[in-house]
Symmetry: C2
Subunit: 265 residues, 2 copies
């Protein structure tokens, strides 16, 4: 399972303030905490706090000074993405994200190749978010095929079928599960498959229960990555249990602790 | 989701004692408690406490005097099964269980037809428990085809791919998940699919976590029934959350309580 820590995002007030005041302390603190909890990537996102590419570069550099974890450069703005990639020290990382927009793909795929990073593609097109399984599969397949043609390995491509809030678009969760199953048969080896997990529990009362339940169902369908709260111990325990059931972890009575230990806790 | 309450089983000491002493109190108490928690069936099993068919008849009658819930007559012994069915008052129920043994099928299918009850078939054959997906599917398909030929409706057939303890046969959990997916495409409408859930957590330290995680993954693959501990509130909350994600329950912030209320709590 590829864990992408969601916390260095200007959607959180402490990070928004850190960016505005160029205060590295909260960024370093979340980088350390998430790395210690076993994040494989740290997502960094300047959100609405800034439109300046140099702020993304600052975030990337601040994280790099603190931990050795790979970085997910998260922006829909091409200049901001490029500034984040330029600031990288060669440790590897990913672009989060492209859509199935041909213009975006034409610019982002060469960047991913040039910087030797992975590319996360969300199954969105010019019509917006997909309303069904078919559009998710079409858009995912289009991103995958274009990225492979452009020189990326299947292992460098991560597809995201776009999770919606269960509270407001309940029927989409099932569609996402089905799309995950379809993505696994796009190629052999299959692309990685990720979701932005927190979306599904947006405004819901039973947040933790919904997050854990959806995530293990999705892992059962073939999901192997997630942007999520790696600090959520119950969520991490659910993930390792799902991996155990799929025979990817070795059983011991203390398998939850063994997983944490291997993840560096 | 079809919930089959596991508790009236002589594997539990209070039930073994109740059977030996013909004391209806523990049987009635567990019948009431499980019915109140929303069990669709109450499994009754005299286990090793008795080899007398009349003890099964006594268990069935004792439960019937207490609640209106359907009964799952659980024995590998044909005379004991028949005694349970004869004691039934026509409310419906199931035979738990047959295997893919042609002789068993030849005797149990006509009994299920005669008493108009469902038949649960475990994917076991004369070679014992299945070691892989293929044997599970072969045995399940054989039971299904024979039962349909014998006059049962697909809706009266419940297939069980046989869950093994994760601690001792870790690789089988994944095989069970795959077999569940295969069972769903045996026919349209598909047979029901059940597991004896507690098996997977046998002797494991993280029992609750393993039970909940496996069950929601299995529901994602098409499982729609389980013999389980219906008194386990966390397990029931996980089930309703999985049903919500699959768009079979309607979202409300209080969906866990709404589910309990509809189940009669």
């Amino acid at each position: 399972m590829i864990l992408i820590g969601e916390r260095i995002n200007a959607g959180f007030k402490d990070i928004a303030r850190a960016i505005r005041e160029q205060d590295p302390a909260p960024v370093k603190s979340w980088a350390e905490k998430q790395a210690q909890r076993g994040a494989d990537y740290l997502d960094v996102n300047i959100g609405a706090a800034s439109r300046k590419p140099e702020d993304m570069a600052w975030l990337v550099k601040t994280v790099q000074e603190t931990v050795l974890t790979k970085i997910s450069v998260d922006s829909t703005n091409l200049e901001i993405v490029e500034a984040g990639l330029e600031a990288m020290d060669g440790r590897g990382g990913m672009i989060n994200s492209t859509t199935a927009d041909p213009e975006k793909l034409e610019r982002l795929i060469p960047l991913a190749v040039k910087y030797d990073v992975s590319l996360l593609g969300v199954a969105m097109d010019e019509r917006g978010s997909p309303p069904d399984v078919e559009r998710r599969v079409e858009n995912g397949a289009m991103i995958f095929a274009t990225a492979v043609e452009g020189g990326l390995e299947p292992d460098q491509i991560i597809l995201d079928p776009i999770l919606m809030p269960l509270k407001f678009m309940q029927e989409q969760a099932k569609n996402v599960l089905e799309a995950i199953g379809q993505y696994t048969i796009l190629s052999d080896p299959s692309p990685h498959i990720s979701v932005g997990l927190s979306n599904i529990a947006s405004k819901a009362a039973e947040r933790g229960l919904i997050l854990r339940t959806f995530l293990v169902m999705a892992i059962g369908q073939g999901l192997d990555a997630a942007i999520c709260n790696v600090m959520d111990g119950e969520l991490m325990a659910a993930i390792v249990t799902a991996e155990l059931i799929l025979n990817r972890e070795i059983y011991s009575d203390s398998y939850v602790r063994a997983f944490q230990a291997r993840r560096g806790l």
